[in-house]
Symmetry: C2
């Protein structure tokens, strides 16, 4: 296999917060990749095509073709990248701090995002916006309290971790759903610090190949 053929391929949608998590990890670790856009809206959702289903039975983005396998689930992908490309690390060395990172990441990935996912919102009809706002607000209340114990400049101390890769995309969703961020000063402060980092900038939804012109930064 040639070097070019071995380049990882990321299946991504510009506005998918789960895809953005993986784009940040790839950027931080300096892994170059080809991006294949999967439009979750167009044609009733391109993730439902037979072609994409063969690639990822979960019919979701992100999916990453790498090292001869295809992975899905953003945190599983990020953990694989962490183990195969350990620098810079996205988990602290201390087991207790690692546990805090994972607790925050899982709270976002399992406790907030799935409830305001496109596939759920579709079934909510006109209650869509209110549903999404309630899910995010309730999750952020808990997160704000936890971060008051764990945060330094970022979610856990002063090193960017997997928790931060989940935080910034979730805040972007909150803004999209017009959640009042007033009650969450710690979340807001950390998010601001993260958005100053180059890896978060180049992976941002406003700067993807599939970002529509009117949403481009």
């Amino acid at each position: 296999m040639s070097a070019a053929a071995a380049k990882p391929i990321l299946y991504s949608y510009f506005r998918s917060s789960c895809s953005w998590r993986v784009r940040i990890a790839l950027a931080l670790k300096g892994i170059s990749y080809d991006l294949v856009p999967v439009n979750l809206i167009k044609d009733g959702g391109q993730q439902f095509s037979a072609e994409f289903k063969a690639l990822n039975p979960m019919q979701q983005v992100p999916a990453l073709k790498i090292d001869g396998i295809t992975l899905s689930q953003s945190l599983a992908i990020i953990n694989y990248l962490e183990e195969t490309h350990p620098n810079p690390r996205l988990l602290p060395q201390d087991p207790k701090k690692r546990a805090q990172v994972r607790m925050i990441a899982d709270h976002i990935v399992s406790g907030i995002q799935p409830l305001q996912n496109l596939s759920v919102l579709k079934q909510m009809g006109e209650k869509k916006m209110e549903w999404a706002q309630n899910c995010i607000a309730s999750g952020f209340q808990a997160l704000e309290q936890i971060l008051q114990h764990t945060a330094g400049r970022y979610c856990v101390g002063d090193e960017v971790s997997m928790a931060d890769l989940c935080l910034a995309p979730q805040v972007a969703n909150a803004e999209r759903f017009k959640v009042d961020m007033g009650p969450y000063p710690t979340i807001t402060r950390i998010n601001k610090a993260l958005l100053e980092l180059e890896a978060f900038k180049i992976s941002h939804p406003s700067r993807q190949p599939d970002t529509p012109a009117e949403l481009r930064a």
Copy 2:
């Protein structure tokens, strides 16, 4: 601190699938612990008490007090146990197989369980049962396909892994919501093999201190 005081405390609800995941991990690793039942139904939900909120701002079970910290989120807890009590291991050595384990675990933990969680179902009114069935069936369709590539005796090869700790509790939920398991022969076969293991038996919802008499095995 005395040895007795240092014993981990698990906050658990007999029927919570997320609590069961952690109970299996503790049993497999031979970690002895005290169990504090948190009844998610009684008194409007004991997880919402001020006392429990101070312990876990996410107001969910499981939570584990261990080594001077309190952890929540089942997979974060299981990963911490894996790092501090590595035997028997719950992740394979090969990074690609580890990624498969994590992909399956995350698919259940983020892609299926949150959508049929008590807090979501409460808001579904009379559509509750149908909603839960659809979420689980749709998740199991993808899972069945994935397992056809990864499974041996268990979810990934022949070693019990974190994926299996998520599988058995999710199948128990499926049964509770009367999901037709006919289309999922691989899931059914693996679940049966898991339920034969002592660690899965003693941690089973039918054998907990807070299991109501009429549901006891």
